[in-house]
Amino acid sequence: MPEASTGARTLGDLALEVRSKNAGPFWMTLEAFMPDARTYSIADALITPELISELYQVAPASLQIFRIPALHVVKVSFPRPIVQGSLHDRDMHAGQHHVPLASVLVGAREPGST
């Protein structure tokens, strides 16, 4: 759980925004918008195929990861594990699926963190 009192602890705390959305009915895409080069490097190191595979229970081979230092953004796309609009789809636009990524603890990995 995030603990605001001890400073930035999750990726979501460090980021300007972590968001998720459908990319068409068959894909989902996640983006971490970081405020600067320092926090981008933290996100860049943190977001690995292994991490996303574990958080979203998807095969690492199905992932596409785009690292965009010019925008301080890491973007991850993968096929939707649950088809949009199917009986078990609880997030029609995939708009709330950023939370597992945003909740990842980074405090321990952040150089110079208090």
Partner: protein, 462 residues
Amino acid sequence: MSEQHSPPDSVGILVPSGMLGAGFSPDTITRGVALGADVIAVDGGSTDSGAHYLGTGVAKTTELAVRRDLRLLLAAASTAGIPLIVGSCGTSGTDSGVTWVAGIVEAICREDGLELSVATIFSEQHPDQLIAELRAGRVHALPPSSPLDAATLAGCEHIVAMMGHEPIERALRAGVDVVLAGRATDTAVSAAFPLMRGMPPGPTWHAAKIIECGGQCTTDPRSGGVFARIDSTGFTIEPLDPDAACTPTSVAAHMLYETVNPYTMREPGGTIEVADATYTALDHRTVRVEGSRFDPAEQYTVKLEGAAVTGYETVSFTGIRDPQVLGSIDEWAEFLQKTLTERVETVLELPTDAWGSDLRLYGYNAILGDLDPAPATPQEVGVMLLISADDQQTATAISKLANPLLLHLPLPTMSYLPSFAFATSPAHIDRGPAYEFVLNHVLDVDSPTQIFRLRMPERSDA
């Protein structure tokens, strides 16, 4: 209109909003026209809200909102003498969606005394024709989908093909004032006019992608429309809301939005490549983009979208506030599923594979389920039980069997019957048919216009 002119130096595109019916300030149009708009383009569709709209052929947007937006746009097109293009009419771009928007346009023109010629383009496809194409090896799966079979095509309620810019350009070249297109790529709607005027494909397609969601590419995504001017070496873009700004970051970041790959985007006739694009601030709210490419494809392909009925659904809702039950909410949910399955087997004599259910605990872990990082013991929970069956009668019957459980089911360890908080009476609502998108495939075509039916205005009116 078909005679040859030398290309103009630039073409200005006014996009009033990300979707027809979303609403925009009349000032948006005034400013865009004052900036020298040569065309107004607006998208009327999306798959993002689910397959229901394609499955039923009914729009997501309400008629009054579409009417209000169209009234402003038609008046502007008429006064400024510039074309208006609407893509993916009626949300899904079915023939019924085009006819619906065309009816609204006709009524506004009549009421407001506008003399505008209106072309319609229909993009709905018949499954038999596509089955023939499938057998000829001209239908291909896009990742992550599997190769298509004829039964899937035959099972669709509606199938639309996404047109590129060519059918729209064909209508524009014939000199019409308004083009109402069925399913089209979001970009084709904005790209058609500048391409017709000889603007280069790289900047045109990239600009069309950036402006397709209106204010989404600005620092205030809730602001109204945007204006792009395309020329021989690139394009410039600015918001139509004077308080909003386009910055190099806001413009570049829009390539991330709802895309799998932020650098390349496939269109019917080729691929937009923006990896080498540069984004430069001209002032505090205007951005210049150069270096975008469009690589033509060897084979022209159109993407197919199809919606099929997956079952008939009933949704029930109850609320739990009792801390004792909430403390063991996973156990309660499991007990409900087990008890309901037994009741359905006993009373309706239905095996478990003849129906489906999804029990969602809103306030606990409904949205993310097993992916939820840390669901805490909730203060209250909204319980949604979604039942799916082969027909509505069965889905309703199962939901009625579930009703007393959603009202009174205790934890297995409790010695009394609690009563939970139904939000409405009855506690269930029949949803009717449920739909899924079942096509993620492209069709090879010999001509970009052949499968799209263009209907030109009759000359008798006005």
